[in-house]
Assembly symmetry: C2
């Protein structure tokens, strides 16, 4: 059994939305296809993965460095010990051969896309949904169960109004979401507070509303927002400052009573370890949002969870960034606190296909083999081109 070919394609994200820092209209995603030599009912088994949402496709790193290393390896070294599945950790290590330590940025996304495609392929080899393959591998229940989900929206659209924001959140509620996340930091504090009050009015309960500054604030601004929001008792206050500024994070955690969420821009186990050691994150309270697709894949992501658990942090505190099918399967398989959803934005990757029931803030994974990306209508053209 072997991987015959690895194809990749850079896919633009649809939409004209912005958070406090970036406009997403030029962001792209790498979609990777592992073409195996295995067939089911005459069809070649292909594993698909992508590097989550919100950064960039990594065609250069995949083509020039990682794909050639994997294809040059002795195929037997890439197989699990049962020789019936591929060894995701071995493939990841092979793709990283001759890479130096440090520098966990773009290459972490390149490998994320490739490594996640291994899990899709393994699940298809077993004829089962990916959450079962992942759960079994990491020693969790393989029973079907939903993940707790929240709708991430409230971006800054050109010319958007409070009315639009209210309608956006109401629409999320109408399709089954009962918790929401709103961007802050792209407008003055007074306007952002008005946005938060508007969203609270729809959410009905401050425990159902989080806010996200996307790393924009310096310490003074972060504390100012914290003081203004403190009385509201929001669900969490996400990425107040630079994601690597552990001293700032600690200072905010010491000043702000509510939960802080961060981690979506930490792409390695050592960065996550530093966050826990130096960032003042509180066991049982704060939220960790590392995202396998941006962070070398599931092999590294589970290393991160191991580090958190060594520090008394539970997986219920983990809500991966990136609202899409892959992280839904991961959240279910690993019994995480939940995951994000971006209803209506970041197509063709964002959101879930109609086969995923969303109700009462819970979303059910797909039951077809793999991550079920083939059920995502918006993705079909891209998957077809790769196969």
């Amino acid at each position: 059994m072997r991987i015959l070919e690895i194809r990749e394609r850079t896919v633009p994200l649809a939409g004209n939305v912005a958070n406090a820092v970036v406009n997403f209209s030029e962001h792209t995603v790498s979609l990777v296809a592992l073409i195996s030599d295995q067939t089911v009912d005459g069809r070649t088994l292909v594993g698909f993965g992508f590097n989550s949402i919100g950064r960039f496709g990594q065609a250069g790193i995949l083509r020039e460095r990682m794909i050639p290393r994997v294809l040059a390896a002795d195929p037997s070294t890439l197989l699990a010990s049962d020789h019936r599945t591929f060894d995701a950790a071995a493939i990841a290590a092979t793709a990283m051969r001759n890479e130096k330590p440090g520098g966990h940025g773009d290459r972490a996304g390149a490998l994320g896309a490739l490594e996640l495609a291994v899990w899709d392929l393994n699940a298809k080899l077993g004829g089962e949904p990916a959450y079962r393959t992942i759960a079994r591998h990491f020693g969790h229940s393989v029973e079907r169960r939903p993940a707790t989900v929240y709708a991430a929206g409230g971006y800054y659209y050109p010319g958007a109004s409070m009315k639009r924001l209210r309608e956006e959140l109401k629409q999320y509620r109408s399709i089954g979401f009962d918790a929401f996340k709103l961007k802050i930091g792209g407008a003055p504090l007074a306007e952002d507070m008005q946005r938060i009050e508007t969203a609270l009015d729809v959410a009905g309960d401050s425990a159902r509303l989080s806010v996200d500054a996307n790393g924009r604030f310096d310490l003074d601004t972060a504390l100012e927002y914290g003081r203004a929001m403190q009385p509201l008792g929001l669900r969490w206050y996400e990425e107040p400052g630079d994601p690597l500024d552990y001293a700032l994070n600690r200072a905010i955690a010491e000043a702000y009573d509510g939960p802080i969420a961060t981690g979506e821009n930490l792409f390695s186990a050592i960065d996550a370890s530093n966050l826990v050691r130096f960032g003042g994150m509180r066991p049982g309270k704060d939220i960790f949002q590392m995202d396998a697709g941006l962070s070398y894949g599931l092999t590294e992501y589970t290393r991160m969870i191991g580090i958190l658990e060594q520090h008394g942090i539970t997986r219920a505190q983990c809500f991966p960034h990136g609202g899409h099918l892959i992280n839904l399967h991961i959240a279910v398989a690993l019994d995480l606190g939940g995951c994000e959803a971006y209803p209506g934005v970041f197509q063709p990757f964002g959101g879930y296909p109609p086969e995923c029931d969303v109700a009462d803030g819970l979303v059910w994974p797909t039951e077809v083999p793999g991550f079920g990306l083939e059920l995502k209508r918006e993705l079909r053209t891209h998957l077809d081109i790769l196969t």
Copy 2:
């Protein structure tokens, strides 16, 4: 005045050498050319830069993200206030538009190559060597002066012997170097200690010999090497462990009396800041090796120096990684402690052209306009192809 075109080329590094972690034979470098609309004596002025040595070319990130952003910008926004040079910081910020915080890896090298080309171009616009342009910009003396340099070698060559190591270092001494750096961690401790003793015998003085583990060791191994080397009083012990493991670095600094060197795998000001805050680095003692070409260029590199100085660390403690002409000009211009040299390896980028006198452990910068890359014979073909 404007940049008409930005070209880039991925150049392989020559050589079959390895440190404790990687083999360099598949490493590449991005060479960037900024084609200006200015001419001198009928020749178009072109600024050249590259992303140092030891990681990878970044064609994908340059072509897909950074070059289009710079070329799409209003040219007047990329000029310094005197309109006679380009504004490197503005060009860097433009190239980073819509990039999210965090993830300081490959993209830091892509921008490093591009931003350094701006300094080469600015120096050529002024008809002066780059160290003068850089020194003037940052408020230092523009007088010609040498940098303190050491020869980095002692790599693990296939089948290498102690005799070969001795001859290698003697050869460095014969061409003007009086200080050396040796790789460790690629062999068992006993063999590495024999390598160190052999090198010390050539160096004559332990203050002239450093060792470099390239981030390979876990804490126990790092401490074991530290205990074994402690009595020798070596110049510095470089990158004992993971470059981002600040807790490990602090533990080694607390246990090992001699200077520790690190930083070549930290690619942003916030990472350098974390090293100073959490890594136990000692003012007046330890060595910082951040490298502009790997770290978003000189704009970010000087931010890092500012952070070090805020913590009582002097620029005499800075020895940039990467032994090449660009870092030589930077070390001279910014009055750094010195810089690295790789005589004979990492061609076509490593080392200095014959116009750079090397004697008594000092190396003099080139005097032609810019960084003087055109004087490097091994590079000429690549520069010609780009222009």
